[in-house]
Amino acid sequence: MVQKKEAFASLASIVTLGLVVYPLFSLVNAAFYKIRIIKGELSVESVAPFANFYRVFSDTLFQTSAEVTIIFSLVSVIIQIPLGLLLAIAVANSKLKRLWISLFIISIILPPVSVALIWRFLVYPEIGLMDRLTSLLGFRIPWLGSMFWARILIIMVDTWHWTSFAFLIIYAGYVSLSSVPFEAARIDGASDIQTFRHITLPLLRPTIVVALFFRIIDVLQAFPEIWELTFGGPMYATTILNILVYIATFTLTDFSYAAVVALTLMLLTIGFVLTFNKMLKR
């Protein structure tokens, strides 16, 4: 039995080494050479150490993309987690729990491309429902035509799509809490707000951190919704780092640039993960 466990552990290690470590090594390697297509042929040139990093970090496209990524991920998560928490508490206290849960699950199970197309139709000028509603109210919002509103749109779409995920995690944590502290608080005369602030939130903290953890990783890797909705535009306004990696690799064919962006994204994600890990342990 012990030998079987060791064998499986070794097999898992080999697979991990092959599928994760080797590509990671190639990625880091690519970031220290200049690899791109010149005159239709692949070209690999040696460059000074960190020259690629300097080139990428000083590029305005990367700077814009990094800014968009941080704003998009933080704002999305800041909206989704409290919203998920409120929905979890509301549903837990509702008589139609199963109905609400079933409805909320619909948004999660829809494929990202379908979500993007649905929203594109909703906000499309003149024929989209949202555009028509705002026109009736006397104004129009250029969702797809303005850099500012396109960014708002991708946050809205991500929130619509994934708040239910945060809701499900927090709901599961909430319904598994012991009722003893809540009964004690009720007996002591605590109000709902006091109960929420001093009992519910502290007890739910680990669950909320887990939801935050998953959501931040997912939102940093967002691609299909944004790509199908805005194609990363207008004028790269919604090009987050993940999309920039795609553009750099397949459109600009500057593989070193893409490698640096991918490494940056990876380090950003690791930074968030370590932060949440510390929060969990506290």
Partner: protein, 501 residues
Amino acid sequence: MNNMSQEPKKVDRRKFIYAGLGAAIIIVGGAAIYFATKPPEVTTITSTISTTTTTTTTSISSTTIPTTTTVPTTTTVTQPTTTVTTITTSVAKPKGEITVPLHKPPWLTGFQSVISQYEKANEDAKVSLSSVANITELRDKQVADAINKTGLYDLYMLNQGMGASLLVLGGHTRKIRESDASYEKDPNLIYYGWTYRDNELTALPLNANNDLLYYRGDLFDEKGLKKPDTWDDVVNAAKTLHDPSKPVYGFIPRVADDPCYEWWHMLVSFGGKVFVDAEKGDFTIRVNDEHGLAATETFAELLKYAPPEPMAITQSDIMAYMATGKGAQTLTVYANSPWMDDPTTSIIPMKIQYATPPKGVGLPNCDYGPIDFGCFSLGVSSYAKNKELAYDFAKFCTSYDAQLTLAMMGVGPVRKDVASLPSLIANPKYRALKEQAEALKYMKSLPHIPELTYIHNPIGKTFVQKVVAERNPKDALNWFAEEIYKYLTGQGFKTSWTPLK
């Protein structure tokens, strides 16, 4: 609100095992039933080459296509009839399977018909289409296949706007003479300049899918407007017909998706160029000179008569605007024309008329502006697994039969004998073909360099979006020139640019 903590339930492993076994039985049983009841493949073997004869009678007395919307009531038009002649040949046909990548262009159905035609003529051959999401992905996947030499595709779908020069000049397409040492150029065919490497042909033309000016003939007649010949005519018509209350928009631009062809047509129509003389190796950037400014100012002027949020308009949206009667004019590819007359996709059948992309005025070298940016050729991949079959299919696509099939399905043919077929041209259904034949006389090309595809997209696309967003042609052009300069110097070019003041 809260549940009491419960003791964890013991898991009954047997239930999982039974569930797994049940799922496995269902899957295996389903597969067995599928394969047992799958109908056998039909193997009718007739080796044929089809020839077509057309008999068309029409009561249209004039040889010119009328611009009115009334369809002649006494017109009798018959479809070409096909006679199949069985011939025997001693030449062994290539067999096997090839893979051709393709996005979802308006001419997809026509191309699929040609594939069926070929497979019927060569029953040992199969042509598989590998579908990609859009034309940019078509470029990206073909380039990835070429650079990595994976041989995923046997034929490359070459389009100058989307990487043809890169694939051809990078040596990723076989020279035609390597596939067929006896190949002689067909005088009936149109060959594109960007399919040459070292003065040798490396791809065979597939379609002539340049832009045409689409305009509402009925609305033009109502307002007494003449067929647009210059961009001034287009702007004037857009101003006259623009009525957002109906809504009818004077001009529908394409901005959101790749590629943004229209501006490039305007550039060449005003005598503009990207470089001073790319063929002679002078890559001094002149896209932001007076010619580029005239083109961009015209484009910006037309944006005043565009639908709200032109930034969101894709090619599909252009077709939708025109087919629903909301667009008065647009510049779009020839292959969109069948949609305008199909009653299932258009509420204004037979009302759209066509014109050669207009010319600029007021500057030297102004001319009509069709460019072969949107046209396609087929090149055999240097890494193809079945080079013989790939070449045979590409050559079949240039045949009279294949080109006639394409033409009848609304795809611009590359054969002059098909494009000028009297029975087709006289048919109102194919009135776009008449304009297409005219446009081919003025066809121009952009510089045949691998870097053009990236100058076009993403740099060019961002430039067009900048014009739409900021409506400042001079600034946008200077930005465009500078970005081209930065890109080309990074690629090792000797180039320079001068800001437009």
